[in-house]
Every structure is written in structure tokens, then in C-alpha cells.
């Protein structure tokens, strides 16, 4: 497919960069503070997590949708002088792309260590789909091909792909609801999760319909929070506290054909990840069968399913079976979104799923297991409610970032 286009550059950088620090604020629906305040706390927490000083961080990046505070302001509050910064427009699928760009700017000699953050009042500030052009607002030409028909929210925009998947492959509402149930199992063992309660398939199907095929519990919770992770070279990573999460391969913001209005080019059920899988696994030097756990963007239960299919974790059309047969559950063969994801932990446009996988690769997930005298958590691998969520011997993770049906990103990491 894209084989001849795949340059050697990325493969030569395989394993040479790592995520060394992660941190966040609490997840709430009433932060009562600014994105500046939360952003500073998240970056500070990520720095403290790995034990890095302000004078050792010289790069900063963030992503936002005109709803946040730019890097120079956050850096200023933390005593960081920047050799490089870049704040981009984007939501889901941005974090993986920015991790790739961070590798690029370090490789270019522009800086040495990059803190990447997302700070958003996703519940009390700007909300997804909430500003689609209401009464009295002038609607420009771009809105005359979707929003004017009452198609403004991500749920409404993505639903055509979801519905068609049910039609073509017989995917059932019950199968899809398993995604929420299994993610809630992870959340129940995550003290930070906004929705820590386990829910059943029946509860998902009994929740009110937002727009078919999505019930309320098929949709993620919108929250106020900030998150940060820190990228540096694998060589420098040795100077800091934790086992690093090494970056094996990354792809960023690839699109489907006809990205101006992607449904002109089918199949309708196909998502951007389909076009990225070859480059991702080639860059990473392994395949989906080698992955111990996944973080598949769950703005909706269905987005997780479609991406797992697109990246080859199951054959196309069998996503319904794959997400409902126990594979993706905590304790399953390849758990997904072990912290609860956007459906349960909180809504951060993707970064919290990467943070969780970094912690999983450290074997230091902060669940309800006790911390031993050596300072390390004593994992029980008992996945009952209120217990452990560490995946045993986690060595390889994959993050599948979703922006829209039309756009996605992905990241493969290993322990070490």
C-alpha cells in the first residue's frame, strides 16, 4: 500500500526516545479554575514524577481547540526557559502526533527534552459540538454540508460509520456495550477515575438514547483536567527515576482519501487507522499479535471497536466479537484502556490513555494494591473491583488515537 513511501528515518529512530515522566490533575466536572492553573499543576506533577528539574526541560508542546493556555505561559509559571515550543490546534489524535514531532525537534537539535500537555475545561468550558451555530448565528458555507442538518456533535458525525458497521457485519448493540463495561472494570481499580463504578451491558442499553446507535453510556464523560508527559532521548532517560517507556513507532494524523468529505470514498465503515497500520507496524518492527495491552480512543464505545479492527487486532467485521469475548477486559488476553479511558476515567483528547500505558510498562500502575517497603507497588493481579489493574508482565503497548473517522494517529511503546 504505502510501502515504497516508508522512509528508513523512523526505523532508525526506533527505541531511541522515551517517555520518562507523566502527571495529571484530578478529573472533575467543576474544576473552578483556569486551564493555566491546571496546566501548570499537570506539568509540575509530570516533572516531579520523574525527578526532572526546570532547567532540564527546554521544550514544550500542547494541543487545544482554542480552549486552553499556550506553552510559554505554562513554562513561565514553572521557571522553564524554552529553546522550543509549539501549540497546535487539535483534539484526539494529537498526542501521538506530538510525541513524533517531539522526537523530530530533539533529533534536529532544537532542544533536548519536551513536556507535552493538554489542559481543558471539557465539562465547564468549551464543549464538543456545543457551538455548532445556533439561533441567530450566521452559518457559513462550510456548515451547509452537515451542521445545517443538525449534524454537529462527534456522535452525530461518526454515527454513519457505526450504523453501517452494524448493517454490514451484524454487529449488535450488546457487543458494542461490552466496551463500556470492560473499561469500567479498569476504572473501578483506578482511584482517579471520574466514573469508578462498574456498569453492565444491560445498564448501557437501558441508558437513554443520544442518537442511534449510541446510548448515553456509549458516550464518554466530558471532564475538566490537565495531563502531561515528558519525552527525551533513551540515553538521557537513564538519569531519571522510572523505567522508561521506549517509543518503538509512531504515526500521526493520517487521513482517509477525500479528506474534505471522506464518505465520498468508502467503505463507509473504514476509519483512518486502516491507512496507517502498515506504516505503524513497520516503524515499530512488530505486529498487533505482539502487543500486551492497547489504549484505543473511546470517545464512544464504537470508536474503540473500529480502531482495533483497523489496526489488525481482529479481522475487519469481527470487531463486535473481539470487544465482547473478554479479550479486552482487565484480566483478558489484551486489555484495552485499563484506567477506564474516556468512557470512565476522564476526557483528555487521548493523552490519559498514553499516560496509563507508560505506567503499565513501568509495572507501577497506581491501583488499590499496597506499596511495599521498597517503594514499589505490590501487585496482586486480582482484578476484582477495588483491586489491581496492573497487566502482568506488560512489555509492549499500542495507543490508537482517534480524531474523527477521517483522521487518526498511533503509538507503540515497550518497557525499557
Amino acid at each position: 500500500m504505502a510501502s515504497e513511501l516508508i522512509a528508513d528515518t523512523s526505523r532508525s529512530l526506533r527505541d531511541k526516545y522515551a517517555i520518562i515522566g507523566v502527571g495529571e490533575t484530578e478529573y472533575s466536572r467543576n474544576s473552578g479554575r483556569t486551564t493555566r492553573h491546571m496546566g501548570v499543576e499537570a506539568v509540575r506533577n509530570a516533572m516531579a514524577d520523574c525527578g526532572i528539574r526546570a532547567d532540564q526541560v527546554d521544550g514544550m508542546m500542547s494541543y487545544q481547540i482554542m480552549d486552553s493556555t499556550p506553552s510559554p505561559v505554562i513554562a513561565g509559571d514553572l521557571g522553564i526557559r524554552l529553546d522550543f515550543h509549539c501549540d497546535i490546534l487539535g483534539g484526539g489524535g494529537s498526542i501521538e502526533a506530538l510525541i513524533g514531532l517531539a522526537i523530530g525537534v530533539i533529533e534536529a537539535g532544537m532542544c533536548e527534552t519536551v513536556a507535552i500537555f493538554r489542559s481543558m475545561n471539557g465539562a465547564t468550558g468549551r464543549r464538543m459540538g456545543g457551538t455548532g451555530g445556533g439561533g441567530g448565528r450566521r452559518v457559513g458555507p462550510g456548515s451547509l454540508f452537515g451542521p445545517i442538518y443538525g449534524q454537529v456533535s462527534p456522535a452525530e458525525m461518526f454515527a454513519h460509520s457505526f450504523m453501517r458497521h452494524m448493517y454490514e457485519y451484524g454487529t449488535t448493540p450488546e457487543q458494542v456495550a461490552h466496551v463500556k463495561m470492560f473499561h469500567s472494570w479498569g476504572a473501578s481499580n483506578n482511584p482517579r477515575a471520574y466514573y469508578p463504578k462498574r456498569v453492565t451491558v444491560e445498564e448501557v442499553l437501558a441508558s437513554r438514547v443520544i442518537c442511534y446507535p449510541l446510548h448515553m453510556l456509549d458516550c464518554c464523560v466530558e471532564t475538566d483536567n490537565a495531563n502531561c508527559l515528558i519525552v527525551t532521548s533513551a540515553e538521557r532517560a537513564r538519569d531519571f527515576r522510572h523505567t522508561p517507556a521506549r517509543i518503538l513507532g509512531v504515526i500521526g494524523r493520517m487521513t482517509k482519501p477525500r479528506s474534505d468529505m471522506h464518505y465520498q470514498h468508502g467503505p463507509i465503515t473504514r476509519v483512518a487507522g486502516f491507512y496507517g497500520q502498515e506504516r505503524l507496524w513497520s516503524n515499530a518492527g512488530l505486529g498487533p499479535e505482539d502487543v500486551d495491552l492497547t489504549g484505543s480512543y473511546d470517545a464512544f464505545s464504537f470508536t474503540t471497536l473500529l480502531q482495533l479492527e483497523a489496526y489488525g487486532f481482529c479481522p475487519v467485521g469481527e470487531g463486535g466479537r473481539y470487544v465482547s469475548d473478554g479479550t479486552i477486559a482487565l484480566g483478558g488476553r489484551r486489555p484495552n484502556n485499563t484506567a477506564g479511558g474516556h468512557l470512565c476515567e476522564g476526557y483528555t483528547h487521548g493523552i490519559n490513555m498514553v499516560i496509563e500505558n507508560v505506567r503499565q510498562l513501568r509495572h507501577e500502575v497506581d491501583d488499590y494494591c499496597p506499596v511495599g517497603p521498597d517503594g514499589h507497588r505490590q501487585h496482586s493481579y486480582d482484578y476484582r473491583e477495588g483491586g489491581c489493574r496492573q497487566v502482568r508482565d506488560a512489555e509492549i503497548t499500542a495507543n490508537l488515537g482517534w480524531a474523527t473517522v477521517n483522521m487518526g494517529s498511533a503509538l507503540v511503546m515497550r518497557r525499557g
Binding site: Q151, A159, V209, Q264
Partner: protein
């Protein structure tokens, strides 16, 4: 000339500086579906664009296209996010595949247009119409006048053909519609 209009309390407009979108909606204003046919390869495209999406060349002409097609996917909205649609639930957004140029120039390509299911008069479809429409339903275009020389394309069940039994989202609960009649 730029067009201006109003729909469900929203101010709509296409300026002179956007000639392709302007042409499309002006043809709709004359109750005619016209799309760009590109000189270089003879293909039609949707939505309006500034160049041929297959090769980037700009030469084209606006050609009449039959406004008939099949619903290939849909979304049934019960909780409206767009303020203008509150009180209009349930309503359907449709992905309509035109009969013209299906599976051209490759198997998975087609002219696929988003719109609502409406009555033949252009009103958002009532629940009894929503409930018997789904994937496979045959539709035809209707034009909703929103301003001087400015109309929106919409879709209504084609009364001139025998309708196939459409595929609908499987109801998961008894008495479901009664419990969730509107957002």
C-alpha cells in the same frame, strides 16, 4: 451574487468569494441538482471544490444530475445538540448515495450526500415516517427554499418506486420508543 437565507432561526449565507459553493446553492435555488464535471477525467464530484479531487486540475462545468439515490447509512437523533434542532427530535440525518456514478471510478467510491429525511414539502419527517426509513430506503431530492435564489437539498422517500424493507437499528428494549420518544 452572494446568497443569504434563514432556516430554523439560523442565518445562512455564501459569499461572492466562494464561487463553487455559491454555484451549487444557486442551482439548488433553481431546484436543480448540479455538480461539477471535471474536464480532465469526465467525473462528477461532491461536495463542491476548487479543483478535481482526483488530479487537482481546475477545469469543470456544472452539470445536471438526477436527484435519486439510496440511504446507505443514517443517524437517528433523540438528544439534539444543535440548539436549532431542539424540539425537532427524533430526526434523521442521512448518508445518501446517488444512483449516478455509483462505484466509480473505483469500487468504493460514490457521490454521497448528507441531508435530513423530510416530507415531500420539505418539513423534517414526523416520527411515523422516521420509523419506516433506514438503510436501503430509496429517496429523491427536494429543495427547501431558505432565501432569494437559495435552497437546501433535502431527501424524501421516493413515492414512485416500491420501497424495499429498510434495515433499522435493532430495538433492544420493549416499549423503547415510548420511553425515549424525544430527547
Amino acid at each position: 451574487m452572494a446568497v443569504e437565507g434563514q432556516y430554523l432561526g439560523m442565518q445562512l449565507g455564501v459569499p461572492d468569494t466562494d464561487p463553487e459553493n455559491l454555484a451549487f446553492f444557486e442551482w439548488c435555488g433553481r431546484h436543480e441538482l448540479r455538480l461539477q464535471r471535471w474536464q480532465s477525467n469526465g467525473l462528477l464530484s461532491y461536495p463542491p471544490g476548487t479543483a478535481n479531487p482526483w488530479d487537482g486540475t481546475p477545469e469543470h462545468a456544472w452539470e445536471p444530475v438526477e436527484g435519486r439515490g439510496t440511504i446507505v447509512s443514517y443517524c437517528e437523533v433523540h438528544h439534539a445538540i444543535h440548539p436549532a434542532f431542539r424540539g425537532k427530535t427524533p430526526y434523521l440525518t442521512l448518508l445518501v448515495e446517488l444512483d449516478t456514478q455509483r462505484s466509480e471510478p473505483s469500487e468504493h467510491e460514490a457521490l454521497r450526500i448528507v441531508g435530513n429525511l423530510v416530507t415531500p414539502e420539505g418539513e423534517l419527517a414526523p416520527p411515523e415516517l422516521v420509523e419506516r426509513t433506514g438503510i436501503g430506503s430509496r429517496v429523491r431530492i427536494v429543495y427547501l427554499d431558505v432565501g432569494e435564489g437559495f435552497a437546501l437539498p433535502q431527501w424524501t422517500l421516493d413515492g414512485e418506486v416500491e420501497q424495499p424493507t429498510p434495515w433499522r437499528y435493532p430495538d433492544t428494549r420493549a416499549g423503547h420508543e415510548a420511553a425515549n420518544g424525544s430527547g
